[in-house]
Amino acid sequence: MSTSTVGIVLVSHSAELAAGAAYLAAQVSGGTVTIIAAGGTDEGDLGTSAAKVADGLLRADQGAGVVVLPDLGSAVLTVKAVLEDHIGKGTVLLADAPFVEGAVAATVTAAAGGDVKAVAAAAEEARHVRKL
């Protein structure tokens, strides 16, 4: 059993949204998981940054792989472009999940010691959990 936990990268158009979701996920999961917020452009505007995502993947990887959650449309394109250059640097899974709920569910599963597939699955199952 691996001693390291899966890392999480949150890719949002908004730096504040990525940072806030990372803070929430850390608080709910007990603070043991590496969560990197990759939000906004390099200039600090609304948008996504390939450089921030690439840096986030490297910083999040503690040896057990990384799960990436994008928020909207072009965040997915940015992540996919970065992943094309990331081949061979450790397992990275892109999760198709609601941003906030997925971030919380993924981080809790990572904190419990889940592997990269279990963490991505937890994020994607968030789509089916009703709030009301």
Partner: protein, 90 residues
């Protein structure tokens, strides 16, 4: 050797996000299948969103059920978390 255990607890506080997270993190470390029930609603204890979705509040009775090789330890651990974590809220 597989076995089933269950235990009830009366919540001392609301089951907010952080206690729900602590519960799901602990549950995820056990091999047993574990559920948490409040009234008519039952959630997978390993699903933080499911546990939060119970909307369990102070004074409510919760039942933790587990089946599997480490079911006894799982129920004991989760009951301990529920009794501690709901005191501080969050």
């Amino acid at each position: 050797m597989s076995a089933s255990y269950e235990q009830r607890i009366t919540l001392a506080g609301d089951l907010h996000a952080r206690p729900a997270g602590a519960l799901a993190v602990a549950a995820g470390r056990f091999a047993a299948v574990i559920s948490v029930s409040a009234g008519d609603h039952t959630a997978d204890a390993k699903s933080v969103l499911g546990v939060m979705g119970l909307g369990a509040t102070s004074g409510q009775h919760l039942t933790v059920k587990a089946s599997g090789t480490d079911a006894r330890e799982a129920v004991a651990a989760l009951i301990a978390i529920l009794s501690e974590a709901t005191k501080v809220g969050g």
